[in-house]
Symmetry: C2
Subunit: 536 residues, 2 copies
């Protein structure tokens, strides 16, 4: 049980290139080069030829593959930002290979047929030219570099891994539960297949981004007053309710933690690049003196983006701050959750909603949002006459919340540590900007790991411990989970076990590894305890 590494069981279900699609691409002559397979993984992205460009495009949410003659420490930020790395020179102990393995990025090195022309931003291979921005696919397990975006497919657990995990679950029984972060019924279903015992995080905002909803979301955001906003919200409610119905059905009999709206509203408006284009288009129309209606339309959008613009959105008007200044938004969401739960309950499905308030930092916020939520939820139960049991809890992701956890637990019926934000705030690092210095820090050995991948037990971990101790001092049986991305990383899972969390929650694809890691944590604990009794 201790010999298998949790990453290994996850690798079984890691997406790989679809064999047929790859074979078809090779048939069509899309295989560009074959180098040394330096770090496994199937990566797809747009070719870029320098680290700055990689960082810049990744920040604009483009997937990129960094292609270099060879890499050096100056490239580390770009490697970090890229999906995969290709070098023309170097072997398996080259800088690129070593760094990519450490980062878990797909990497092919020594693809010597490739000639990179950084200045012209192209590479040549066998007479063909691949330009910056062209899609390429990298198979770090075989060393192949292909033109175009090759389809990827999910792996399967297989019988041996399934049996291993059944043993693991037996050891784990006295330890951590394992839940999934899932935003759709499909994700929930998949998570359950991989062994999830509930959902630890449904990000309701992900539902807002669907193409049929984003115009209504924008209507809601740009509403000039509360009445207009309520009309837009009423249009969103059926969508949200239907999503929740699907998720509750998929998780029949298991708890589902739904987080109310978390990100700042401007995330639903045009992004920086689009905003810049809006300004450019309007200025051109203005200079040419044409199309005044279009100018006015663009001007209105620009004004709305400006109004919502924040200097530091991560630290701005988001999470429960939004829920308190705009109670109608959380009101709609709570109503949708409870209507869904009552609807499926009437059909014989056992729904266990756990409503989660994000970004709480003061007891005033907790009390206010708890009371608002309870009022709406109890209202739906009274209307429908279906007595669904539900919990109201909170994320602990602001350092202050960990410090005053005893007071927060006065209201909150469960905690979930949002260690992504907690890491950002404990270090003062913006995850979106960290590529400018963190790769250098890793390179110089100033930090042992990327703290967004591996939980920093010394700093962030102490905040977690403080939060758990103080929360349980007020409410001894407080259910406590983690829903940051650390919930799927083995050493972090072991930490969660040691500090006596109730469960970890992670991406569906990390569930198998988390099950094994949690079992291993329990076994190691017994070994240290010296009981020698391994029967479970």
């Amino acid at each position: 049980m201790l010999r298998v590494r949790p990453q290994e069981v996850n690798e079984a279900i890691r997406p790989v290139f679809d064999d047929r699609d790859k074979a078809a691409a090779i048939d069509k002559g899309r295989l560009l080069a074959r180098g040394l397979p330096a770090a496994p993984g199937a990566a797809v992205g747009k070719a870029v030829f320098d680290a700055d460009r990689a960082v810049e495009w990744a920040r604009a949410n483009e997937k990129v593959i960094l292609v270099r003659p060879e890499t050096s420490p100056e490239d580390v930020a770009g490697m970090y930002a890229a999906e995969g790395i290709v070098t023309a020179r170097g072997g398996r102990t080259s800088h690129a290979a070593v760094v990519a393995v450490g980062m878990g990025k797909a990497c092919v090195v020594g693809a010597s047929e490739i000639v990179v022309d950084e200045h012209r931003r192209v590479f040549e291979v066998g007479g063909r030219i691949v330009r910056e921005g062209d899609w390429i696919s990298v198979d770090g397990g075989t060393g192949e570099v292909l033109l175009d975006s090759i389809k990827t497919v999910e792996g399967e657990l297989g019988d041996e891994v399934t049996e291993l995990l059944t043993w693991a679950d037996r050891y784990r029984k006295e330890g951590l539960g394992v839940r999934a972060n899932a935003d759709t019924p499909l994700d929930a279903q998949r998570a359950r297949e991989f062994g999830a015992e509930g959902i630890g995080l449904v990000r309701t905002e992900h539902m807002f981004f669907a193409p049929d909803r984003i115009p209504i979301v924008r209507e809601m955001i740009m509403a000039a007053d509360q009445a207009t906003r309520r009309i837009a919200l009423e249009k969103l409610r059926p969508f949200q309710r239907d999503d929740f119905i699907g998720i509750f059905r998929a998780m029949d009999g298991l708890p589902v933690t739904v987080r109310l709206l978390d990100p700042p509203l401007h995330e639903f408006l045009p992004n920086h690049k689009e905003y810049k284009e809006l300004i450019e288009t309007r200025s051109r129309l203005e200079a040419l003196g044409i199309n005044p209606e279009e100018q006015a339309r663009l001007e209105a959008i620009i004004a709305n983006v400006e109004k919502l613009r924040e200097a530091n959105p991560m630290l701005g008007h988001r999470g429960c701050r939004l829920g308190i200044t705009h109670p109608e938004i959380y009101g709609m969401q709570v109503r949708a959750i409870m209507e869904a739960a009552c609807t499926v309950a009437e059909q014989g499905v056992h729904a266990e909603p756990e409503i989660m308030i994000p970004l709480t930092g003061t007891v005033g916020e907790m009390k206010e949002t708890f009371q608002q939520t309870k009022r709406v939820a109890d209202g739906v139960i009274a209307e429908t006459g279906v007595a669904v049991k539900y919990l109201i809890g909170t994320m602990i992701e602001v350092p202050r919340a960990a410090l005053i956890a005893a007071q927060i637990a006065e209201f909150a019926e469960f905690f979930s540590f949002g260690t992504n934000d907690l890491t950002q705030l404990t270090y003062g690092y913006s995850r979106d900007d960290v590529a400018k210095f963190l790769p250098k820090y890793l390179d110089m050995g100033l930090v042992p790991h990327d703290p967004f991948s591996v939980l920093d037990q010394e700093g962030v971990g102490e905040m977690v411990k403080i939060g758990i101790e103080r929360g349980r001092s007020r409410r001894p049986n407080l259910k406590i989970g983690i829903c940051g991305e650390h919930g799927g990383e083995a050493s972090s899972v072991e930490f969660c076990h040691r500090v006596k969390m109730t469960y970890v929650s992670c991406s569906p694809y990390l569930i198998p590894g988390a099950r094994l890691a949690a079992a291993q944590a329990r076994i190691k604990e017994r070994q240290v305890g010296g009981s020698g009794d391994y029967r479970v």
Copy 2:
């Protein structure tokens, strides 16, 4: 000693309108109206007529005066952003008056001659029209509202206050020291006159903003490589050295804490509004097909701004992160500080430089910057042959730094709590964006104070206590100060005394109040201790 409020002694030196300038303005018929003096203070700014505009302009660093028919809770964000508030209606217990007193904003209410036309964004008074953006001055002590920007002058301590503070200093001897935050020789001189016992914070970046330096700073930032950057830095060094010479002379015999560069580099490039204008101008030129050289020039500036743009600059590439990725910047600054100290020491001035590293969060950063700094400083001492004693210390402003303070104190020879940033990170609040929800929170009673004005003893204060205990566990005599704006606020000063800081540091104008508050903290402590011995 306990009866006088620390704010009261500060009011003695608070800037007031220059009598002659105000009289001249009144002679010229600039007095617009006289209302009720609701909250004292001399405020100057551009007239705005709604809260949104106030917030927006203030964010672009414009000083504004909010003029409203009357105020309601929806206006609170705008009041918070404004320098002063004027209302046409309402008395001394009106919403505007009560809120303004709480915020410490100059306020005139019930200026009934004023007719505000929100729609046209003007106000009329006695047949005159004042438009949005016109400068006005508000005397909250007399109720006068004047057109134009009236000059303000410093107040003076006066004999009685001076005597009171002499008594206070005697009580304070066993308690807190009081230092000033000062960036220029003039500020340092003034601080010394008000009783500062050293400088707790010189913000070196403020020197970078001077008109003769900003072009060189931009050259440094936009440098394509380290060699070019070093050339620009060498041009900056004499400026920095001369500033430090002036400050060391003014503070002869007293310690001067100099913080190395802290803000992200893009703060020295065009701001958001200017950036938008650059895009507009370039797009217009492009649309008209004229002036290609200018287009290219603008394009280059835009590209540089883009390159340095960060999603959350407060959490980004700044402080020691910049000092580590660009060691040549800190190298230049340390050299300038030590050259200045050695120069004045040769002239018989006693310089006590304390070099402070900002934003430390890991022991790796502390070790690296400590060693870099020591190498350069000792180099200057060896070159000049002048043995100036100096200390190397750090800000504690990232929660993680407080948690690992014992390790940091392995290297750091002093700590200074940067409670502005520590408040931002402990709460997860961006000070620049907080106006979107904090006024509402204050209004609803969800938080007792603005935590950026009054130190949050429960949350941020606990981080401070942890930092002090752990720092001194490694280095029992560690010198510890505070240099956030809380260092000048009475209840926060009392807290600093209780947790056994060495000194508080605040703006020169808050020094008298801090001296009194520190004395009061010591007296109260004795009363509680019950020794009854008030001789000092």
